[in-house]
Amino acid sequence: MTQGSSGRRLAEVLSQWEPVIGLEVHAQLLTRSKMFCGCRADYAGLPPNSNTCPTCLGLPGALPVANAAAIRMTVRTGLALQSRIPEHSKFDRKNYFYPDLPKGYQISQYDLPLCVGGWLEFDVGGTERAARITRVHLEEDAGKLLHAGEIQRAGFSLVDLNRAGVPLMEVVGEPDLRSPAEARAYLVALRQLLVYLGVNDGNMEEGSLRCDANISLRRPGEESLGVRAEVKNLNSFRILQRALEHEVVRQAALLESGATLTPETRGWSEAEAATVPQRGKEEAEDYRYFPDPDLPPIRCDPDEVAAIRSELPELPRARALRLRQQHNLSFDEARGLTERPGEADHFEQLVAAGAPPATAAAWQLNELAGLCQRAHRSIETSGLDLGQLARLLLLVQRREVSAATAKTVLAQALETGADPVGLVEAGGLRQLSDEGELTDRVDQAIAARPQAARDFLAGNDRALSALVGHVMAATRGRADARRVDELLRERLTREGGG
């Protein structure tokens, strides 16, 4: 909805209305076991209902015991968000009936969450912003419901409880976000932070990171809040932004028509490219929260909290800033390299192994990223030897190996595990930089492609690339493409003018 008439309508609405948006983000924690029992937290690929035990099945008499690692991960997240970690916290029961909730209640945290307050910094359109965090608390995930077709029309539902009881951390944000784009940037930054902290895998597609949004509109300058809609299950950055954009336009239209909004729960329909009302519950929600008597209150010992704080890794924004300053990188490069902690580690290891930082940054972000993607590997698992890669990038920087050659040998190295510099030497692929030979090759190309030469002289600058391509092909990529470009221009303009 960023183009065409709908885009214009959005821009018009945004000029007259101020969206007030807050996100609630649920993140499955990367523990080994579930929140309150010893079943696996990673249930991917397991046959249905094979990852359950009396506790997560909610069998009579089975009891929960809290996973210490999940509590630590939540505190770690809170500390990274500058939250306060109160000494006293507890688990509460949220009571409601649903087949994916075996006990008839979800163990969650109501009035004493593990982390209170804090803020998240993020960039939107090149500007630094911060949004306040309300709280971070810990709860258990529900099982999965499967239906043939739509839930309302299905004759029955099927339940898989493998996911029931997986530790789920909820990061509740204050309604500090003022546009769908800001909401998206906030979620991008939060996801990145969680991955950096090693508490979540950031996988929105698989649902290990999930997002709900609250949104209302008001006139710019107004203090009070409008009637908000809760939009559930916005499980990709794209859907989050599209759904919020749709909601902005929808709510504005209603408000402008004089309608009175009522609080409601909506979801995103991909088919309709719109938010749609979710079926209301039969009774008003009354979750009857009360402290879970099976789980004694949690005491977060200040010394333990200090220890967790001291173990916090360098966070993405700090790391990007350091890389920029240390290696004189651009803002975009530093941000790109620090997107995931593994990538940033790879870059720093590459530089430590002797690669020139500027070349290493450009190559890791572009060529290497592309090659790895085609090989279905990540940068960290490319299998390339960092020392060999660093030597190759040094040759590239010194223009002793052409970019094209470097790409070719890297592709081979990725496939076979060979040393890319060894491939250069064995194939005699060092860059052709002898001016005499290069000039000969350039003259041969002009002779072979007279039409391209004429086109260039007639003002078609793009015709030159055909001639460069000819030289590169004739030299099997060994020629220094930049020098070839320069020589061609020199020869042609001299001839044309002479």
Binding site: A66, N67, P297
Partner: protein
């Protein structure tokens, strides 16, 4: 504390007790009697007192993050009222 049929229906609904109409009035009467007795609580001077959150030992007993064996599917679903392959089958959610 008077308690009406509507409240009883609401509470029965929340708890999925499926009370029949004939049972609602009787339940309202009985609950009213019990709540009347329980209302005695309002006379207690509890100013400044925290609610009891636990009895027994202080401390936060947690488990180490270790995987333990799960139940085989056949045992997990042994008592299921409906099954489809390895899934629990339940009536339509509506």
């Amino acid at each position: 504390m008077p308690i009406d049929g509507g409240t009883v229906r609401h509470v029965s609904g929340l708890a999925r007790l499926g009370l029949e109409d004939a049972e609602v009035d009787r339940a309202a009467e009985q609950l009213a009697v019990i709540l009347d007795a329980v209302d005695h609580l309002q006379a207690a001077d509890i100013r400044g007192l925290d609610p009891t959150l636990r009895v027994g030992d202080p401390g936060t007993p947690c488990r180490a993050d270790q995987v333990e064996p799960s139940l085989p599917v056949e045992r997990a679903l042994a008592g299921a009222s409906g099954r489809e392959a390895n899934l629990l089958r339940v009536a339509a959610i509506q």
